[in-house]
C-alpha cells in the first residue's frame, strides 16, 4: 500500500507554487551557501572551489575584525529595533485608536510612501540631508541653532538614524494591525473595572499586541542585521556592519567560500540572538502569568 493517499498527492500538487518557490528561492540558495562555506578560493581568478572540504573558512572568518564588526552590528540592530519599537508603539496606537476610521487608510498609505522609492536612493537622500555643506546644515547654522557644520555623516549615529528611518514602517504596520484587532471594547472593559490609562496599557493593550510587537521586532531586527547598504552609504569606518564584510567577500575579494562561511555564521548568530530574546520574553510572560494567577480551591464536583 502506498504511503501517500491520493488526497496527499492532490494537496502537494495544489501547493506546488508555494513549495516550489520556497525550494528554489530559499532552500537551494541557503544550501548552496552552506555548501560553498566548506570550500576554498583556489587562486586569484577563481571565486570558489569545493574540491577540498574543510571548516577552515569558519576559523578564518572568526577573526577579531569579524567579531568586533558583529558586536557593532548587533548594537546598531538592537538599538535600531528598540528605537523603532519606541517610536512605533505610540504611533501605531495613535493610528489604530485615536484617529477617526476614515483617516486610517490614508495614514497606512503615508507610512508606506518611503517604499515607493528604492532603498538605495532613500538612503542616498540622507547623505544629502546630513552633509556638512548640505542645506539642513546651512539652515541650522543660519538660524543659529548650531555653531558649525553638522558632523554626523559617516558616523555610527548616521547609520543608526538611517536604519531607523529605513525599517520603521516594518515595525509600525504589524503593530498597527495587532492594536487595531485588539479593539476598543477590551480597553473600555479595563477602564470600567478600575484600570487607569497606564495599567490598561500594560495589562491589556500591550499583552494583546504582543504578536504584533514580536513580528515587528523580527521584521526590523533580522533584515537590519544583514543590511549593508545603509552602512555603506552613511557609515564610515565607525559605522561598519557585518553585512558589508559578507558583501565585500562576494564582490570585491571574490572569495565566495569565506563569504559563505561568514554568511552562515551571521545566520547562526541571528538565530541565537532571536532565540535568547525569545526565551527572555517567555520568562517574563511566565512571571506575569504567575503574578496574575488566582488560586481558588477546586469546587467539589
Amino acid at each position: 500500500m502506498s504511503k501517500f493517499s491520493r488526497k496527499d498527492v492532490g494537496a502537494a500538487a495544489l501547493s506546488f507554487p508555494s513549495w516550489a518557490y520556497l525550494v528554489f528561492f530559499f532552500i537551494i540558495p541557503v544550501g548552496l551557501v552552506l555548501w560553498y562555506s566548506f570550500g576554498y578560493k583556489p587562486d586569484l581568478f577563481t571565486a570558489h572551489s569545493n574540491s577540498i572540504l574543510s571548516f577552515d573558512r569558519y576559523i578564518e572568518a572568526l577573526d577579531p575584525t569579524f567579531l568586533s564588526t558583529f558586536i557593532n552590528t548587533l548594537q546598531i540592530a538592537g538599538l535600531g529595533t528598540l528605537i523603532c519599537l519606541l517610536i512605533g508603539i505610540p504611533f501605531a496606537y495613535w493610528m489604530a485608536v485615536k484617529v477617526p476610521v476614515k483617516w486610517r487608510g490614508l495614514l497606512v498609505a503615508l507610512v508606506l510612501v518611503p517604499f515607493w522609492t528604492n532603498f538605495l536612493v532613500r538612503t542616498l537622500g540622507w547623505q544629502i540631508m546630513l552633509a556638512p555643506e548640505g542645506f539642513v546644515s546651512d539652515a541650522l547654522q543660519n538660524l543659529g541653532v548650531i555653531g558649525g557644520p553638522i558632523e554626523i555623516l559617516y558616523t555610527r549615529a548616521a547609520v543608526q538614524l538611517g536604519v531607523v528611518y529605513n525599517y520603521l514602517p516594518l515595525m509600525i504596520l504589524p503593530l498597527f494591525v495587532s492594536l487595531d484587532r485588539a479593539g476598543a471594547s477590551l480597553r473600555e472593559a479595563s477602564r470600567d473595572l478600575g484600570g487607569n490609562r497606564w495599567r490598561t496599557m500594560f495589562h491589556i493593550t500591550l499583552p494583546l499586541a504582543a504578536p504584533g510587537i514580536i513580528s515587528g521586532c523580527l521584521l526590523v531586527f533580522i533584515p537590519l542585521m544583514g543590511d549593508y547598504i545603509t552602512a555603506s552609504v552613511l557609515g564610515g569606518a565607525q559605522g561598519n556592519m557585518v553585512g558589508q564584510l559578507v558583501a565585500n567577500q562576494f564582490n570585491s575579494a571574490q572569495n565566495w567560500a569565506l563569504g559563505s562561511a561568514m554568511a552562515v555564521m551571521l545566520m547562526v548568530f541571528i538565530l541565537l540572538t532571536v532565540a535568547i530574546v525569545g526565551a527572555i520574553y517567555l520568562i517574563i510572560r511566565a512571571i506575569l502569568r504567575f503574578n496574575r494567577r488566582v488560586l481558588i480551591e477546586e469546587p467539589a464536583s
Binding site: 471594547s185 472593559a189 477602564r191 470600567d192 487607569n196 496574575r292 488566582v294 488560586l295 481558588i296
Partner: protein, 378 residues
C-alpha cells in the same frame, strides 16, 4: 454572612432617590456632529431597582448608558451618583461596572483572572481576591470553569463570566448593554430569570439596555421607553402596557392595531369601518385626527354577528396561525384595513382563510392617541 461577601447588606435602606445606588440624570444632551443622540433627558434611577432602557436602535439608550458608565461625557446637563456629580470622572474612578454587549472578556486571561481583574486594580490582598472570585463564580454557576480560557466558552457561559467580573467589584450600579442579544431564545429566557434573581439577591441598581420589550417586561421594576433621544414614558411594565402615554409606546409594547379616524364626542372615533367607542376619550379635541389603538389580544372573533355588542366590525379572515398558547388571525375589514387578533385556542374548528367573520372589542380596551401622521391611512 462573611466579610468577603459580594452581597452587600447596606443597599436596601435609606431614601431610594438619594441612596448609594441612585442615579439622577438632569437635562442630559449628547450630540455627535450634527446628529443628536440624547436630546435632553431627566431621569431618577432609584437605589436597588432594576430599570430598563427600552427603545429601537438609534434611540439613544446605549449612549445614555455609556454616559452613566463614563465612556462618553454629556454635552449638557449633569449625571449624579448617590447625589454627587460624576461628570468628568473617568470610568475607572466610578463605582459602576458594565456588562458589555459582546462581553469584552480578556482573551489572554483565564476566567478566574478575568473576574479578578477589577479587584487587582484596587490592590486587594491575594487571599481576598481568591475568596471573592470564587464566590462570584459560584453565584453565576461558573466555578467549574475558573481555569478555562474564555474564548473556549459558549455565549451563555461567557455572559455569566462577564456578569461575575462586574459584580465581584460590588458596584453601586451595574450597567448591562444588551447582554442577551447574542443568546438563543431559550437560553435568554433562562438568563432573564436568573438575572432578576441575582439582582434581588445583590440589591445592586441594575440599568439594563434592550430593544426587546418582552425582555424588559420580564425583568424590570420600571421601564424607560425611549425614542429619538427622548423619554416617551417611564413606568412599571403594567403601567406601560395598560396606559401607554403615546402611540409609539402603545405600538412598541405588544401587538397593537392602529385604526385612523376622527375624534367625535364622548370618546367615539369615526373610522372607515364605522364608529368605534373608547372609554377613555384621550386628550384630543373633537374633530381632530386620531389613532385608535386596540391590542391583538383584546379582539374577540365571532362567526356570527354578536347581539348588542359595541365596536363590532365585519371582515374576512386571512392567514390563521396556531402559535401554541394563542391563535393569531389576520383579518381584513370591510374597508380593507388589516388587523391582527389573538385569541386563546378553543376546541372549536378554526375559521379557514376567506371566511367572513365578525370581531369586536370592549370600549375599555381602546386607547386614543393624536395621529402623528394625520394624512396617512385616514
Amino acid at each position: 454572612m462573611t466579610q468577603n461577601s459580594v452581597i452587600s447588606p447596606t443597599v436596601a435602606g435609606g431614601d431610594p432617590t438619594h441612596g448609594t445606588g441612585s442615579v439622577q440624570i438632569r437635562g442630559v444632551v449628547k450630540r455627535y456632529g450634527s446628529s443628536t443622540a440624547v436630546a435632553g433627558i431627566d431621569l431618577d434611577v432609584r437605589s436597588g431597582e432594576f430599570l430598563s432602557l427600552l427603545g429601537p436602535s438609534g434611540c439613544g439608550k446605549t449612549t445614555l448608558l455609556r454616559m452613566i458608565g463614563g465612556f462618553e461625557e454629556p454635552d449638557q446637563g449633569d449625571i449624579l451618583l448617590a447625589g454627587s456629580s460624576v461628570v468628568g470622572v473617568p470610568p475607572n474612578k466610578r463605582p459602576i461596572n458594565t456588562v458589555f454587549q459582546a462581553y469584552a472578556l480578556f482573551p489572554h486571561m483565564t476566567v478566574a483572572e478575568n473576574v479578578a481583574y477589577g479587584l487587582r486594580q484596587k490592590r486587594t490582598p491575594k487571599a481576598e481576591v481568591a475568596a471573592r472570585v470564587s464566590e462570584a463564580l459560584g453565584l453565576v454557576q461558573m466555578s467549574k470553569f475558573a481555569n478555562r480560557n474564555p474564548k473556549l466558552l459558549s455565549g451563555g457561559q461567557q455572559q455569566r463570566v462577564a456578569l461575575a467580573r462586574a459584580i465581584v467589584n460590588r458596584p453601586k450600579v451595574l450597567l448591562l448593554d444588551e447582554p442577551m442579544s447574542a443568546l438563543d431564545r431559550k437560553l435568554r429566557e433562562e438568563m432573564q430569570l436568573e438575572l432578576k434573581q441575582l439582582q434581588r439577591q445583590l440589591g445592586i441598581t441594575f440599568i439594563f439596555v434592550t430593544h426587546d420589550q418582552a425582555e424588559a417586561m420580564s425583568m424590570s421594576d420600571r421601564i424607560v421607553v425611549m425614542l429619538d433621544g427622548q423619554i416617551q414614558q417611564v413606568g412599571t411594565a403594567e403601567e406601560i402596557y395598560t396606559n401607554p402615554a403615546t402611540s409609539f409606546v402603545a405600538g412598541f409594547i405588544g401587538k397593537q392595531n392602529f385604526i385612523a379616524g376622527t375624534l367625535g364626542a364622548d370618546g367615539s372615533v369615526e373610522t372607515a369601518d364605522g364608529v368605534l367607542l373608547a372609554q377613555a376619550p384621550g386628550t384630543g379635541t373633537v374633530g381632530s385626527q386620531v389613532l385608535a389603538a386596540v391590542r391583538a389580544e383584546s379582539i374577540m372573533v365571532h362567526s356570527e354577528k354578536p347581539e348588542g355588542a359595541v365596536n363590532v366590525v365585519g371582515g374576512t379572515v386571512g392567514v390563521v396561525s396556531f402559535l401554541g398558547d394563542v391563535i393569531q388571525y389576520q383579518i381584513t375589514t370591510g374597508s380593507g384595513h388589516e388587523l391582527l387578533a389573538r385569541t386563546a385556542p378553543s376546541n372549536g374548528v378554526l375559521p379557514t382563510a376567506g371566511t367572513p367573520v365578525w370581531f369586536s372589542w370592549q370600549p375599555q380596551h381602546v386607547q386614543v392617541f393624536p395621529n402623528p401622521h394625520p394624512s396617512a391611512g385616514a
